[in-house]
């Protein structure tokens, strides 16, 4: 009886100390909305870019962005069955993150100082370069200044043409098109001379359309494709960066890049890009 009582006293004492410690340690660390610990994820991707994010006839999405997203989500502990992909246009991305339509965006989302004010960017997971697509056999265009006087495609909603005619002041003749697929078709039919946008996008088209077009391989910009997260999700951003590093280390990145763009002869980066930082 006496022993039992002493044991009870000790147990009560230990419990009390334990409870006090747990209560103390639970203090601090304010909870912010994070992708960490979610059971399912809604992922924003492009729906009209072959090789990156393309909506198939059955409503599924395929492409490099989709695969990278699936990889990162898997490392975050969300299996492929718990992912839902949402097609986004360039304009919709910030709002979709902000209002919670999507949790995370992998949609050729270039990191820019303006956007960094509204979105927390993990990555970049790839640094693309703006390049030029021409008809196979066209040797008159070797770099961006050769676009002077040429017919250059101006795809609706894209800013790539500005890099040529505004930032570099190359006087190309702009020909409007509704999207890049239309640009490439027009290029093959001879209604345009060049299409200029990110090399990954062009590579996707060049691969998808067979041998009719070729890339000039004169990159003239850096486009950092970031992982868009809700503003302030620093913890999620750090986790994403860690898994992206790992993706490059274990060769998964190279496998995916080769899978999607390997048939096009251009140098894909196989080393982890320089991250932007999460704050």
């Amino acid at each position: 009886m006496r022993v039992l009582r002493k044991a009870m006293i000790v147990i009560v004492a230990v419990l009390l100390v334990g409870v006090a410690l747990v209560a103390y340690r639970a203090g601090g660390g304010e909870a912010t909305a994070s992708i960490i610990g979610k059971k399912s994820l809604r992922i924003g991707v492009k729906s009209d870019q072959p090789g990156l994010g393309l909506r198939m006839w059955d409503g599924t999405f395929t492409g490099f962005d989709v695969d990278v997203a699936t990889y990162v989500a898997g490392r975050l502990g969300v299996g492929p069955d718990d992912l839902s992909f949402v097609g986004l246009t360039s304009k919709e991305r910030e709002a979709a993150l902000d209002d919670g339509t999507v949790d995370i965006v992998f949609a050729t989302y270039s990191i820019t100082p303006e956007r960094k004010g509204k979105v927390t960017f993990g990555g970049p997971y790839y640094v693309a370069h703006q390049d030029i697509l021409v008809r196979a056999g066209d040797r008159s265009i070797k770099n961006v200044s050769d676009l002077r006087g040429k017919r250059l495609c101006q795809a609706a909603g894209s800013n790539s043409w500005r890099r040529v005619t505004e930032e570099r002041k190359v006087a190309a003749t702009l020909v409007a098109a509704s999207n890049y697929s239309e640009c490439v078709t027009a290029l093959k039919e001879g209604r345009m001379d060049a299409v200029s946008t990110d090399d990954l996008i062009l590579a996707g088209f060049a691969a998808a359309n067979g041998s009719g077009t070729t890339m000039v391989k004169a990159p003239f910009t850096n486009e950092k494709y970031g992982v868009g997260l809700k503003k302030g999700d620093v913890e999620g951003c750090q986790a994403v960066n860690r898994y992206l590093t790992e993706m490059y280390q274990n060769g998964a990145a190279k496998t995916l890049l080769t899978e999607w763009f390997g048939s096009v002869d251009f140098a894909v980066g196989a080393s982890v890009p320089e991250f932007e930082g999460c704050n």
Partner: protein, 480 residues
């Protein structure tokens, strides 16, 4: 069952129970205090000894790599490959003089390796990061080989401040690719990962220390109340007015509670100062320095290898925007213009901060503290650097590449960067050193204040417990 266990019918049982409550409260008080002080120690250690120095070390990797690359680019630009390749270890003594840039390159290479090893040592329980450090060290060899090849191919042709021979340019491009797309990004990512470690080992402990002070006060009060209860019971039951032992216990508890609570408050301040006035600016300014170096390298790369000049121009602009962000600037031309007016405006009386980026944060914090002068100097130097860059660019655009290259380096010592760049870089370095002193001082003071507590805390707990027991013992003895 438990009712019978804890039935307190007899007086000694009640005294024992009350004593147990007091002792329990003492244990809880001292455990929580100990854990809170442990938090303080861990936070100081992270900033001052573990993660903090590691972040600085990884940033040193970045700086050393940038310096190596700058030497290479400069030598290729000025056509001084012969002296670079001079082999001083040759049998029979060298017949040539190895150039200063080569010595500097070798020294910085060692610095880079040493810093990488330090980063590796501190990251030993993180395989992902270790592999990154390893691949930086591996990449360094590949880089060396390309540099050697570029130098050997460039030595034959006379190309001082002119165009690099194409076969040398190919090797140089390969070397640059390794440096800018592999080594520097990895060094940068290591720094970022380390910085987030510091955040993680700082934020939670700090807020716990802040709330820990309240905890300690409340628990101290609990001990006092329990002691008072015991005292009152003893006074009533045994007609003793005060037990001196219990009074001593109460006084000790009060003293310790107050001391611990105020220590926690000061420690929290030390930790916060070390972080916000020390580590954060150190990291930010070191990163500014690193960005500044790669910015300068981009400019010179554009001159050395005009075929890729478009891309270097864009990264130059982006890096400028990282350092000092002007939202309205659309291209370099407008950036130069707006920089001029905004820096001048900051130097004025009211110090409005109309820019962002690293310098924006630095300027805002300085304005908050009312210490604009040092930041103003930095900004003036940054502006001077950009002004010189504008001149280099204008010369390059006018196809006067040789003049542009000469305007980029020091007019007297072509193997040095332009004085404008050096001043800017040295100014940043001086600020880094100053803030590092804050880290060191705060960590030293914080740890100094904690130093006696590992023995003081358990010892005083034992003393108080002994006093309590000492106060109760004679009363219990009356029932033996």
């Amino acid at each position: 069952m438990s009712g019978r266990l804890f039935r307190l019918r007899t007086v000694p049982r009640r005294v024992q129970a009350l004593t147990a409550v007091v002792l329990l409260a003492v244990i809880v008080l001292f455990t929580v205090t100990g854990v809170a002080l442990w938090d303080a120690r861990a936070a100081l250690r992270a900033i001052g000894h573990d993660e903090g120095p590691m972040v600085v070390a990884t940033n040193d990797v970045y700086l050393a790599l940038s310096d190596m690359d700058a030497q290479v680019t400069n030598v290729l630009l000025t056509g001084a490959e012969e002296e670079w390749l001079c082999d001083v270890d040759m049998d029979g003594g060298p017949s040539c003089a190895r150039s200063l840039p080569r010595y500097f390159y070798d020294i910085r290479r060692e610095d880079a390796q040493r810093a990488a090893l330090q980063a590796a040592r501190l990251a030993e329980d993180d395989p992902v990061r270790l592999r990154t450090v390893q691949s930086v060290l591996d990449g360094l060899h590949l880089y060396d080989q390309r540099v050697q090849a570029a130098m050997e191919r460039g030595r034959g042709a006379d190309h001082a401040f002119g165009r690099l021979p194409e076969d040398a340019a190919v090797e140089y491009r390969a070397a640059t690719k390794i440096m800018t797309e592999d080594l520097l990004p990895k060094a940068n990512n290591l720094t970022l990962a380390g910085a987030s470690d510091v955040e993680a080992s700082y934020g939670d402990p700090l807020s716990r220390m802040r709330s820990g002070r309240i905890w300690v006060l409340v628990l101290g009060l609990t001990v006092l109340v329990a002691l008072a209860g015991l005292q009152v019971y003893l006074a009533r039951r045994f007609k003793r007015v005060v037990s001196l032992f219990l009074v001593a216990a109460a006084l000790s508890t009060t003293a310790l509670t107050v001391a611990a609570a105020s220590l926690l408050a000061t420690e929290a301040d030390y930790v916060q100062m070390a972080k916000e006035d020390g580590f954060d600016p150190v990291l930010r300014l070191s990163r500014t320095r690193a960005t500044g170096k790669s910015l300068n390298a981009d400019r010179i790369r554009g001159l050395l290898d005009p075929a890729d000049a478009d891309r270097y121009d864009q990264t130059y602009f982006e890096k400028s925007q990282t350092m000092l962000y002007i939202p309205e600037a659309r291209d370099l031309e407008s950036y130069y213009r707006m920089l001029e007016t905004r820096v001048t405006r900051y130097g004025g009386d009211s110090h409005p901060v109309s820019f962002g980026g690293y310098y924006g944060v630095e300027a805002t914090e300085a304005a908050d503290r009312g210490q604009q002068a040092p930041v103003d100097t930095l900004l003036t130097r940054y502006r001077a650097y950009q002004q010189n860059d504008r001149r280099v660019r204008e010369l390059a655009r006018a196809r006067r590449l040789e003049d542009a290259a000469k305007a980029h380096v020091d007019p007297r010592w072509p193997f040095l960067s332009h004085p404008g760049f050096r001043q800017h870089d040295a100014g940043l370095d001086a600020r880094v050193v100053r803030h590092q002193l804050v880290v060191d001082r705060m960590v030293r003071d914080g740890e100094g204040a904690l130093a006696p507590w590992p023995w003081l805390l358990p010892a005083s707990a034992l003393v108080i417990a002994a006093l309590v027991v000492g106060g109760v013992w004679p009363r219990l003895a009356e029932y033996r």
